[in-house]
Symmetry: none
Subunit: 222 residues, 2 copies
DNA sequence: CTAGTATTCAAGACATTAATTGAATATAAG
DNA sequence: CTTATATTCAATTAATGTCTTGAATACTAG
């Protein structure tokens, strides 16, 4: 009887974490935070929520133990509590992808040529990079790139892609990546590159997943 | 931006899975299902929920893609959709446990600081118990108490403490103990007892330490 | 100290969720 | 066909969650 209570209390704790994951806006915030530390203002801008609303969601995430804060000057910076949170988000994504037919439908409808996009697994990319066979491009904004990126990756934010196209060797394969497996930036980049006749694919995962897998990374500007 | 809607829709799908994990009862059902296929009736019994309520929770789990059903005779059998669901539950548990531990640590350090609750050393308590000077209460759950406790200790789980307050002699000192030197239960008990004007302190150690010191113990129900 | 900015808090409107109850459906056995 | 049983559906109530608005708090620069 009291063990029933204990058990129920335990599941209630787990449920608190589940609750934190039960809202699309919070999941989006978590994805941004998977890139690194962010202030409330930045998160508010990038998510399109009001600052107050963003703050409240962040506090829920903090109460669930998913994020921690650091105060500096005017700003409060949030970051994920640890890598286990990234693993959790990944597990969630995997289950959702596999079982929610709706997700597939959405991805399909967005990507006109889904089959052609066959993503490159992380291990395979690492191999090919070591052999110098591919050019890896990071299509995230420069700040995120500077905070950490794949070794040898060139930072080409989506907006600047067109400008780089002419300089690229059409015979050399390009692999693009961004924030996560579903980050649209990389999809977009691949489509545009292909439209110009380049051999382009996208990395199966994003930068956070790559890092969590223990694969090598670099940081700073090249 | 055209990717804005797509992105939000995608996160909404992920949130559906998160929602399924946001309730203690559903998590308990999932844990049972992790052991294998179960009928609604079995799940209802083991979770203590009404059949209708169980059925509704199961349907939410099914809509989130976490479980699937099979019909046979009178019964509908539910089972997890796949091993990735188990991985997800594991990831959730890990994050939650870490956070819970963190909370416990914080609470402990907070309580230890304001510890003018001068704890009673084991030897001193043994002495005073022999002289019949104090009432010793064990605030752990009954199962743990039954497995072994201090001689003469009365089992009063924290939840039942209030009910016992009136029966206690305010002039007699009470010493509380639980699982270990940092187990919060005893701190809590002492605080509550003092709030009622009783003379209360806590044992410096918990039951495991007492036992390891080679001091006498009892087991079973009193 | 004062002004300006970043974040949090508090209160209210509105939507969603959980549990209860009683009825409806479906299956198998007599 | 009728009956008993397992499950689901539907309607209600109480509780909880989300977002908005405007004010309060904390920090820095001047």
């Amino acid at each position: 009887m009291s063990s029933g209570n204990f058990k129920h209390d335990l599941f209630s704790q787990f449920a608190r974490v589940g609750k934190a994951l039960s809202n699309a806006n919070r999941l989006e915030l978590l994805e941004f935070l998977a890139q690194g530390e962010r202030s409330v203002e930045e998160l508010s801008k990038v998510s399109g929520l009001t600052v107050a609303n963003t703050s409240q969601h962040l506090q829920q995430l903090r109460q669930a133990g998913l994020v921690v804060t650091r105060k500096q000057g005017h700003h409060v910076y949030y970051r994920l509590t640890g890598d286990d949170v990234i693993l959790l988000l990944d597990a969630l994504r995997k289950v959702a992808e596999k079982h929610v037919a709706e997700v597939e439908r959405l991805v399909d409808s967005y990507l006109t040529v889904k089959d052609d996009l066959e993503p490159v697994p992380a291990q395979e990319l690492l191999e090919r990079v070591r052999q110098g066979l591919v050019t890896v491009i990071d299509v995230r904004p420069p700040e995120e790139y500077a905070a950490g990126h794949l070794p040898g990756a060139v930072n080409i934010p989506l907006a600047e892609l067109e400008a780089h196209l002419e300089k690229m060797d059409p015979r050399r394969e390009v692999v693009a990546y961004c924030r996560g497996p579903h980050c649209v930036l990389a999809f977009d980049a691949v489509e545009r590159l292909r439209a110009r006749g380049l051999k382009a694919r996208r990395l199966e995962d994003g930068y956070p997943e790559w890092k969590v897998m223990g694969l090598p990374t670099e940081s700073g500007v090249t």
